[in-house]
Symmetry: C2
Subunit: 125 residues, 2 copies
């Protein structure tokens, strides 16, 4: 698989693939080189990148993901802490999202204090 195909399958620009690679987010095994020096992506990179996409979409940083994927033996505790911290973060985020939906529904109905600060101008000193 060449870069453009990965790009097409993932909906990611080739520049992003190279960016991820530069950041060492993509393990070496997923990428080798052709005689041309063109990158050859292993097909498994797709599943891997799907995971990356998911994690990035829920606010993992690239550095955190790298910590997670590298099995440098010592990092087990660190990794565990990271994952548990993230799970908690996600739970908190879920509650904020819930609150935000209510809030936004109010905004749609014009019921939020938020949307209408002007209306109370004269009550503010």
């Amino acid at each position: 698989m060449k870069a453009s195909e990965v790009s097409r399958l993932m909906g990611l620009p080739v520049s992003t693939l190279r960016f991820y690679e530069r950041k060492q987010l993509i393990p070496e095994q997923y990428i080798s080189r052709d005689d041309n020096n063109y990158r050859v992506y292993h097909e498994d990179v797709i599943a891997f990148l799907e995971d990356i996409k998911t994690l990035l979409s829920v606010n993992f940083t690239i550095q955190e993901i790298i910590l997670l994927i590298n099995e440098n033996e010592n990092s087990y505790v660190e990794k565990n802490a990271l994952v548990k911290g993230k799970i908690q973060y996600i739970q908190e985020l879920e509650e904020k999202l819930k609150a935000s939906k209510t809030f936004l529904a109010d905004v749609l109905e014009g019921n939020a204090r938020f949307q209408t600060p002007c209306k109370s101008v004269d009550t503010i000193k």
Copy 2:
């Protein structure tokens, strides 16, 4: 109320308050000036900033929030579209979060393909 008190109540650095103000995220009515030229914050700014915090925490951009709070009459349609889009975005995010929790639970148990790329090195061509 002076900057430091708002800072304390909100858990935000004073520099962030000034940053928000510079970005015009804080409506003028919430801030006036003393004889010293010191900012005087209206107490209602706290509730306002709580809303800001919530929205930022769920990935609203500052520009989007500004769109939302400014009642420039014309923007009703735009605003509606923004809010509806965001509600949908939040719903999608909620699903990703759910998936991520499962994923992370797997990682904790060592069951994720993700965590163990090295183990399949020899199966990769």
